[in-house]
């Protein structure tokens, strides 16, 4: 196997120990500085530029292959695609007509209530880069960064619904944490009755869960969950997922609710970065669970739910229910 080489003296091994301690201390110092202070953000951004060519180099063959396949599609396939897209556009435009009327109505009603939180204004499209970050965390790398105005905590959508939020920003790239990551939580609302709760990731892209729903809560299979806008991290009213399974164990106080995400978490290629309407600078928070409510809660809420607190959320859900009755 390995050839036997020159033997070393003990002087060398003390040198090794010294260097090892030096490097270890350096690494420890870096970790403490990185964790304690945000100053390292700039250094990280600069370092991410160094990593950028490697990431592009890895992603480009896959992009090249996709481009090649796209340019070699037949005329029939393109025509079929075109008619399908035209059909979709017709349906979308039809819906949009209604949407515009509804938006105007909503704005009038909100003006009555002196609430300025509206539907988001500015979007930016980013592409998912074909780079694996970490096998054990649900994160993707997107080709838009601080250069394009992306900020930490920004909401990210895809065509189907809420995809995740920006966890880290580089100069040219940003890291998006999916709503299915085990460390992610998002404030949601049942679209049918306004029941508010928190959806938490499971570490599995195919489903997220609602851990803070009481067994008595009014929630049924097929309910659509939308963002509630509480916490200020995500704009209100975007679809998060549909309830696929509810397990109610009479012995437990909380039900087991499984939700299928509305966004194509494992397939999405184009993502939308959303800026909140009004251009207010949002708080840079990683998880909405730690964010303070920035918007005024709906009048129905007797006590504003503090997302991280399970008991309080369940309580608020009950008050929501009581108010409904």
């Amino acid at each position: 196997m390995l050839a036997f080489r020159s033997s070393d003296t003990s002087a060398r091994s003390t040198g090794l120990l010294l260097r090892c301690i030096l490097f270890a201390l350096l690494a420890l110092g870096l970790m403490i500085v990185d964790k304690r202070y945000q100053d390292l953000g700039k250094i990280r951004r600069a370092l991410s530029i160094v990593a950028y060519p490697a990431q592009v180099a890895v992603a480009s063959p896959f992009e090249g292959w996709a481009w090649l396949r796209e340019s070699l599609t037949t005329r029939e396939a393109l025509r079929a695609d075109k008619s399908r897209l035209e059909e979709q556009l017709r349906v979308a435009q039809f819906r949009l007509q209604r949407f515009e009327a509804l938006e105007a109505e909503s704005r009038r009603l909100r003006a009555l209530r002196d609430n300025t939180a509206g539907v988001s204004a500015r979007f930016l499209v980013g592409n998912v880069m074909d780079v694996d970050l970490d096998a054990f965390r649900e994160r993707v790398l997107v080709d838009k960064g601080a250069h394009d105005g992306v900020y930490v905590g920004q909401a990210v959508l895809d065509a189907g619904g809420v995809f995740g939020q920006v966890a880290r920003v580089g100069e040219m790239t940003s890291e998006v944490i999916l709503i299915s990551d085990a460390a992610h939580a998002i404030p949601v609302q049942d679209n049918r009755n306004g029941l508010r709760t928190i959806a938490v990731g499971t570490g599995d892209v195919s489903h997220i869960k609602l851990p803070y729903i009481s067994t008595a809560a009014d929630i049924v299979k097929g309910d659509l969950l939308v963002t509630s806008g509480l916490g200020g991290g995500f704009p209100a009213g975007y679809p998060v997922g549909t309830v696929v399974e509810i397990k109610r164990d009479p012995a437990q106080s909380l039900a087991d609710v499984e939700v299928s995400p509305a966004a194509a978490l494992d397939r999405a290629q184009e993502l939308l970065f959303v800026w909140p309407a009004g251009g207010a600078t949002p708080a840079a928070t990683l998880t909405p669970a730690t964010a303070k409510p920035a918007t005024t809660p709906p009048p129905r809420a007797a006590a504003p739910a503090k997302p991280a607190d399970a008991a309080k959320t369940a309580e608020a859900a009950k008050t929501g229910e009581a108010a409904k009755k």
Binding site: F23, L47, F136
Partner: protein, 158 residues
């Protein structure tokens, strides 16, 4: 002697770059958890093979690169890799006369130590990974170690 070692730095840097690329090449979800830590194996190889050419520096720099690419706490991989590379350097004389099986077993121990430090820092920074599949990487790494040594030794000979 000095010149010979200076020349050896090129294959060192080259193999580290290739390993870094292998670490981020997209793989299907199913086999992603089975991806061995290529860069760690490369660092171990050079720590054992030519510690004088700066195996520890390579370990620290590679660790930092992993931190940036994986978006971990800056210094996490650097610390784990430095400590384990130092241990590998310490064991190198014994490792060189070991049989393939004992070498792989030692590498398994080193890789497990590496994963444990990562695991520990993950927990300490409040970002734990509870998935059991993280402990698969050392097994796979130990299994491909002989192949790795074969390839890299050939690179060194040239």
């Amino acid at each position: 002697m000095m010149r010979a070692e200076r020349i050896r730095r090129l294959p060192m840097a080259l193999s580290a770059l290739v390993a870094l690329t292998l670490a981020i090449v997209p793989l299907p979800e199913v086999i992603d958890a089975f991806r061995p830590d290529f860069l760690v194996l490369v660092v171990f190889f050079w720590s054992i093979e030519s510690p004088r050419a700066g195996g520890l520096t390579l370990a620290f720099v590679s660790g930092l690169a992993l931190d940036i690419i994986k978006g971990a706490v800056l210094g996490q991989h650097a610390l784990a890799l430095t400590l384990m590379a130092a241990w590998a350097t310490h064991l190198r004389l014994r490792l060189r006369v070991f049989s393939v099986l004992s070498q792989s077993l030692t590498i398994f121990a080193l890789l497990t130590g590496y994963q444990f430090i990562l695991f520990w820092i993950d927990g300490a920074t409040g970002n734990p990974v509870t998935s059991f599949s993280r402990w698969l990487a050392p097994v796979i790494g130990a299994l491909i170690w002989p192949v790795m040594v074969g390839t890299l030794s050939r690179l060194r000979e040239r």
